[in-house]
Symmetry: C2
Subunit: 333 residues, 2 copies
DNA sequence: TTGAAAGCGCTAACAT
DNA sequence: ATGTTAGCGCTTTCAA
């Protein structure tokens, strides 16, 4: 099958393999004449360098890895864009892996990429991954996390202030005059979810008058939103919340659609705000207010941070962005 | 940094490096006692095998590649699920690459994966890629295409019958009594788009009475759908189509939302059908009828086909699925 | 069951 | 400017 190596090229071009290698890596150090002979030989033979050989010799690859729980979630794929873009600028390839928020798969990929000796890993995970990562890092593969790691780690990370995001969302509903708020999302054990609830609950407490009900559901999807909205519809009207903060936009989309079909007026009867500001939120039948975190710039920042760590520029080991309130019709005054 | 190799393990375990390798690859051929010593040494040292070394020795990697134009499109990410699943069952890793429908990026990834000596590539592309792939294949890396390749290639592929899909969609609108159909989508040069239009146009012609207007737009996104729907709204009512076939669901979602906001009743005034049956189509405010192609099974089939090609089981070189009409409220009678 | 040793394809001294 | 050569880490005969 694939048999053509650098020596075949050298043979055909009638030079030494060292010269071919030079031509490949330092074209300026090869005479024009031989350069042409070599190029012709490469074309004739269909030579493609074997990266395993190069990598083995160099002791390192030129790839980084990006692990995300769900690449089909627009949030993570936007990050991927930024990552690829910046990596390409630095001459690095990116291996993307879809972990499906599954620990076993995360572990498998961690292992695989470590075996491949990637230069570093960028990791987004719902699962606590700090421990497993610590081992990988101690063996020499640097990593950058998306999202704030648990206390007590020195993991570099890129994050948004989720607590602030939660606060912004709840405060917005309160400013609208809503008093019976509901937080919909879960599992609360997930850091992002817990942080957003924390922020929301802070805002509610400080308001002195509003109340916050928590609907802890396992599934942050459109289907999950529909299901929980059906429960809401089953309640007598006075017991329904008048302001809903859905912990992500998918959930909000599902909730919105079911509420509307149930005859609830949004935002008049119930104001609704999501989180993440994915494209589908803006293009929903009633555009949904949301909390926007940086997406693409997120990926860029992570690559920069990783490169910094690799280069040994210890400097800042964390980058935190502030989320931003995006008001749309679902919470229009 | 990463210095621990098989020899270090061998040294610490007081065996030869060959024995360590045996333990790694054929554990049954190593005595229990040494096996334990080796394992202990591995743990102590934190040894992680270097896949470059293995790959170089073996002459092949154990990874395949999946190139898709847009992983954030649920259609392609569903395929990815199937691919990963089946690949894992066969002990293969999958490298996912996002080409952004950009030829240069496709080429870059093609080259990169060829250099990495992947076992094979699975490729979804809007661009004609057959020629470039031919070279790769001739050098020994097999490939399987998603979607029917241009005539005259022997590229193995997995596809759905897009012409049939287009026909099903249009026929459904016609069966509903719609006479002034509009096909919305483009660019027509893209195979899938052209094929779907072909099928729709066949159905219209055979109906003998219906007409088909083509709105050729460059952008198959929600935003694109909104834009074209605004054009429709600007028309006098009698000049609007009474049945719309959007070439994909994203487009249909955008169209639906703008039409509804414009006071058009769906499906009463205009019946609307999309294509792909992504999750968002079913969960739209008015669930959108669509043409469903197999998604996950698609990825599975592609891997199987690739494995077949690798193994040399020439058998069938093409797998074609039939799409299926999914009727929802947007075309309810 | 275990060890010794050759070599996969490549790069980078070093020598010329 | 070009050639020679020694490995990078691993697997796998082949012997013992």
């Amino acid at each position: 099958m694939r048999k053509i190596g650098i020596r075949d090229v050298a043979l055909l071009a009638d030079v030494s393999n060292g010269t071919v290698s030079h031509y490949l890596n330092h074209p300026d150090r090869v005479s024009a004449e031989k350069a042409e002979r070599i190029q012709r030989a490469i074309d004739t033979l269909g030579f493609v360098p074997n990266s395993a050989g190069r990598q083995l010799r160099l002791g390192r690859s030129n790839a980084i890895a990006y692990l995300a729980p769900d690449v089909s979630n627009p949030f993570f794929s936007s990050i991927a864009e930024g990552v690829e873009k910046r990596a390409a600028e630095s001459g690095l390839s990116v291996f993307i892996a879809n972990t499906h928020a599954d620990r076993a798969r995360e572990d498998a990929y961690l292992q695989m990429f470590e075996q491949h000796r990637v230069r570093g890993m960028l990791i987004a995970s719902y699962e606590p991954i700090e421990d497993r990562l610590a081992q990988v890092r101690s063996r020499g593969t640097p990593a950058v996390l998306f999202g704030r790691p648990v206390e007590g780690t020195d993991l570099p990370y890129v994050a948004v202030d989720e607590v602030l995001g939660g606060r912004l969302a709840a405060q917005h509903l309160i400013d609208l005059g809503r008093q019976r708020l509901a937080f919909i999302g879960g599992p609360l054990g997930i850091k992002q979810v817990g942080d957003r609830l924390q922020g929301a609950s802070d805002a509610v407490r400080e308001s002195g008058s509003a109340t916050l009900e928590v609907l802890n559901i396992p599934d942050r999807t459109i289907a999950g939103g529909k299901a929980v909205a059906r429960e809401l519809l089953a309640r007598p009207v006075p017991l329904r919340p008048d302001g809903i903060f859905a912990v992500n936009d998918l959930l909000a989309i599902g909730i919105l659609q079911t509420l509307i079909r149930g005859g609830v007026r949004v935002p008049d009867d119930v104001a609704l705000i999501g989180y993440d500001d994915i494209e589908f939120a803006a293009s929903s039948i009633i555009p949904i207010s949301s909390i926007r975190s940086p997406h693409e710039v997120f990926g860029i920042a992570a690559v920069d941070l990783l490169l910094g760590v690799i280069a040994g520029d210890a400097e800042d080991i964390e980058v935190v962005y502030e989320p931003e309130l995006v008001v749309r019709d679902s919470t229009a005054p």
